[in-house]
């Protein structure tokens, strides 16, 4: 997730803009870990961060001849450190490296097309699911830490004018959960249960709102949020545990291609 870019518009003049994202996600991590111990070990987190920072610096230097600010790769490293669950170290490193490398390989009109962490997670689930999993459980019942995450996240999202993306996705998820419940006969509560977990909180607050990989118009963003939820529903019918990641993975780049195609056509016509 490139929350650095999301968080930059915050008017926290006392801090350099590039520091806001890393500080906020570090705060979230600390709140969750100190209250619930969400990390198996610190060393795995540091492995992920080390991999993202190293990959970013090497590739950026190689491609552009300059060093890259560390904030984006640091945030991606923390994201991988939180989301990846494995008793081994290398999945943390590889997820981080693939996430960052994807930014330099898959580009369209000067920008990357996948949220890096979403890409890394999905690729790892496809290639290495026998060695890793993704965070999918509750962090705990003490709600204050969750409240901090929601409040900080929503505040940030509100400040960068992306609250509508989260709201749309949540409403769409609820609607499709109702539909799934009707089709499968499962209880509605069971269908919406994942939304109350930390995986979705991270996904909703940070991943689908990544400005680098979302459309520039509000209307487009709302449509894409609904499409992500719809695609996720399809995956859920096939019992994919990590359906939201797959949904974003597919809908994200397609929406960018389609939006550019529509813009080109509009410009041609005009």
């Amino acid at each position: 997730m490139s929350s650095t870019q999301i968080l930059q518009p915050l008017r926290l003049q006392s801090l350099p803009k590039t520091m806001i994202g890393p500080l906020l996600i570090t705060g979230l991590l600390m709140a969750a870990h100190l209250s619930f111990g969400i990390l198996d070990t610190w060393s795995k987190l540091f492995t992920a961060i080390g991999a993202t920072v190293l990959t970013e610096q090497v590739l950026h230097r190689f491609m552009t001849g300059s060093w890259r600010n560390l904030s984006s790769s640091y945030v991606s490293g923390i994201s991988a450190g939180i989301l990846v669950r494995s008793p081994l170290f290398w999945p943390f490193a590889l997820t981080g490296a693939i996430s960052i490398a994807s930014k330099y390989v898959f580009r369209y009109r000067g920008s990357h097309i996948w949220n890096p962490t979403n890409f890394g997670i999905v690729v790892m689930l496809i290639l290495a699911s026998d060695h890793m999993a993704v965070l999918s459980i509750q962090w705990g019942n003490n709600m204050w830490a969750m409240a901090v995450i929601w409040l900080v996240g929503l505040f940030t999202i509100y400040k960068v004018n992306r609250f509508h993306i989260c709201a749309t996705y949540i409403l769409a998820f609820l609607a499709f959960a109702f539909l799934r419940s009707g089709v499968t006969g499962e209880l509605f509560l069971a269908e919406i249960a994942p939304l109350t977990g930390p995986m979705y909180q991270l996904f909703v607050l940070f991943m689908i709102t990544d400005p680098k990989t979302t459309l520039p118009t509000k209307r487009g963003q709302i449509v894409v949020a609904v499409l992500i939820a719809f695609t996720e529903m399809i995956f859920r019918f096939f019992e994919a545990v990590y359906a939201p990641f797959y949904g974003l993975f597919i809908v994200g780049p397609i929406s960018i291609f389609v939006w550019h195609w529509l813009q080109d056509r509009k410009n041609t016509v005009s």
Partner: protein, 639 residues
């Protein structure tokens, strides 16, 4: 970025290289696995020193566990709620010097089984005649496990049966019959217990009882009044059953000291327990493996109370699904390591098992570090009993891990629905009616047990495919038994809703060993909690007599040490729970030594017993207290 094509191509190639990493790792792993699978019995014994062969039928041990039939409101997820109860415990029920096997069943009306070993090595099912068969009743509940210990120090082994129901003591009357102790014995009326152990927490010579609750004790799973009985979180649950500590009075009655001793500090879902003296102060500490949360270590403060120290010791912080707890001196250092199995399901939940080794001391308690990943014992599957025992008698305990949750309709999978619910808020996960129906689906089933060999140099190697002993079963409890008293560490594996397996351990004949049968006098007669440290080959190996271990199991009380090809043991040091330390110089190898705890002599605590020249150290014979030659007073830290 205006980047030259060759640079883009280079980045793309690097990216493709990254994508190949999992493939290369898998290739490397499968290459090793193929080599292991290709081995046969002869080459396995030559290469690894042992081979396991299931001989349950030949030995006359035929028994199939039956799972519980719960309240109809739980029918849709009954297979996972009633997923435990297959247990095994080893005892010498009739004191004839031969090990016997007790197995539990968990459906009302189905019998438990007691296989009594005959002189010819065959076993005869005798639970009915001993009065230990028809113990799963609507009135008392169903068996979850059994542990044996001489609670009244009368020379025979009594039975404590823990249930989803009424925990019950059966007194061994010494005439091949048992008397069920009921009412006013100090035990609670109803506990949904999945673990228990005998231990002497205050070292008064009388066995005490630890009992671990899983489901809340107010829940009757056969007649539920509310379906809000599931854990309120998958890794941070706070609504499990209470744990209990009962001080024994020596007459089959007990005093509940759970609160005074600091045992009932929370409501975790305790699934397994074991006891060992982790901080070397002479008192047994408690190690609890908790499902849906962090594990716990209760440090015994001189038999007066316990202090929960898991987090302080580095163990009780990251929550997982603790399924089994066992300890062993893995590296010949005289220090215990702790193995706790957890759950790993590729792509869904990768907790990894924990191997905690002591790395130092912090404020009077040892600090631990999880090295399971670096030594290679982290990746199990849906783990249950993890037994640390020296399968190839090379002097280093190996690891046998029971795996497999629910093997039902092949090709089906419940994981998606499970993951959906356990990620939810407590108001959703806590109510069984919110859980999707299993509908006969398999849930982490059809898994093989794992066997890791300890190299002694810090690494473990998985050899299950080569050495046998890993049938596809829903295994739960594993216990060690030396079937033929020949020093081979045979195994009994109790499987859920499936037949029991008894693995004969074919040993490489040159492997040496030594065994000790201990009998307390000042200490409890079963010698539970006693430790033996043997000094050999410039190292020390340490074991303790357990009153319950791993998951729902109790191995034979006689301690067995592998010595590889070493023919002599310099000395054996026996630390009795009473505080007496007894030294056996140059005990003979290749036999069991029956050792009676000597009486205290003039306040001396350390007793040096030289090996009698008349061969009194042969199996089933005893050291006589007359053989005590010297006495030395130790400092308390020696104890």
């Amino acid at each position: 970025m205006d980047v030259p094509f060759w640079k883009k191509l280079t980045a793309a190639l690097l990216f493709v290289g990254l994508l190949f990493v999992p493939y290369l790792i898998r290739l490397s792993e499968s290459a090793n696995l193929d080599a292991e699978t290709a081995a046969n019995r002869e080459s396995s014994m030559e290469r690894y020193g042992f081979y396991l062969e299931n001989r349950a039928d030949e030995l006359g041990i035929r028994f199939t566990h039956q799972r519980s039939d719960l309240d109809p409101q739980l029918d849709h997820i009954e297979a996972q709620i009633a997923s435990v109860g297959a247990s095994v415990s080893i005892t010498d029920v009739n004191m004839d010097g031969r090990e016997d096997i007790y197995l539990t069943s968990s459906a009302i009306g189905t019998p438990n089984a007691l296989f009594v070993q005959q002189p010819d090595g065959q076993f005869t099912e005798s639970a009915s005649s001993f009065g230990l068969a028809d113990v799963n009743t609507a009135e008392l509940g169903v068996s979850m496990g059994a542990i044996w210990g001489d609670m009244d120090n009368d020379g025979d082994e009594d039975l404590f049966l823990y249930r989803w129901g009424t925990p019950t003591v059966y007194e061994n009357m010494g005439d091949e019959s048992f008397f069920r102790m009921v009412a006013n014995n100090g035990l609670p009326r109803h506990v949904n217990a999945n673990t228990a152990l005998w231990t002497d927490v205050n070292r008064d010579g009388i066995l005490d009882l630890f009992l671990g609750g899983y489901y809340h004790e107010d829940v009757n799973l056969f007649h539920v009044t509310s379906t809000r009985l599931m854990p309120d979180s998958y890794e941070y649950a706070t609504n499990g059953g209470l744990n209990y500590l009962f001080l024994g009075r020596g007459d089959g009655t007990f005093e509940d000291v759970s609160k005074e001793f600091g045992i009932q500090v929370d409501r975790r879902w305790t699934l397994a327990s074991t006891a060992a003296d982790l901080n070397n102060d002479g008192y047994p500490d408690l190690i609890l493996a908790n499902d849906y949360g962090v594990d716990q270590i209760f440090i015994n403060e001189e038999g007066r109370q316990f202090r929960e120290s898991g987090e302080e010791m580095g163990i009780g912080f990251a929550p997982k699904s603790g399924m089994s707890a066992s300890v062993a001196d893995l590296y010949g250092t005289g220090e215990y390591s702790i193995y706790i199995s957890n759950i790993s399901e590729p792509g869904v939940l990768m907790q990894g098992n924990n191997l905690w080794v002591a790395t130092g001391k912090r404020e009077e308690v040892p600090s631990y570090q999880n090295i399971a990943g670096s030594v290679g014992v982290e990746r199990g599957e849906w783990g249950y009993g993890g037994l640390l025992t020296d399968l190839n008698n090379d002097g280093y305990p190996d690891l046998y891990l029971a795996n497999g949750y629910i093997s039902d309709e092949p090709g089906t999978d419940y994981w998606y629905d499970y993951a959906k619910v356990v990620g939810g808020h407590k108001e959703i996960i806590i109510d069984a009616k919110n859980w999707p129906a299993m509908n006969g689906r398999t849930f982490s089933g059809y898994q093989r047990n794992k066997i890791w060999l300890n190299s002694g140099s810090g690494k473990f190697r998985e050899v299950g495919a080569a050495v046998g002993g890993t049938e596809i079963t829903d295994s739960r409890a594993v216990a060690m038994i030396d079937l033929h008293k020949d020093g081979s560490q045979d195994l009994v594996v109790a499987n859920q809703h499936q037949p029991v397996l008894v693995y004969h351990n074919h040993q490489e004949p040159d492997r040496k060993w030594i065994g000790f049968r201990l009998e307390g006098s000042q200490s409890n007669r079963s010698a539970i909690g006693a430790e033996v440290l043997i000094h050999w080959d410039q190292r020390v190996s340490r074991q303790t007599v357990h009153g319950g271990n791993a998951f729902s199991s109790q191995s034979q009380r006689a301690l067995l040490f592998g010595l590889q090809d070493t023919k002599t043991v310099e000395r054996a040091e026996i630390r009795w729970p009473s505080g007496v330390v007894q030294i056996l110089n140059e005990p003979e190898t290749g036999t069991y030594h029956t050792v009676l705890e000597p009486s205290s002599l003039n306040g001396s605590r350390l007793l040096d017993v030289s090996r009698p020249s008349d061969g009194a150290t042969t199996s089933n014979e005893s050291y006589s207290p007359d053989a005590i030659k010297t006495s030395i007073l130790p400092t308390p830290s020696n104890l």
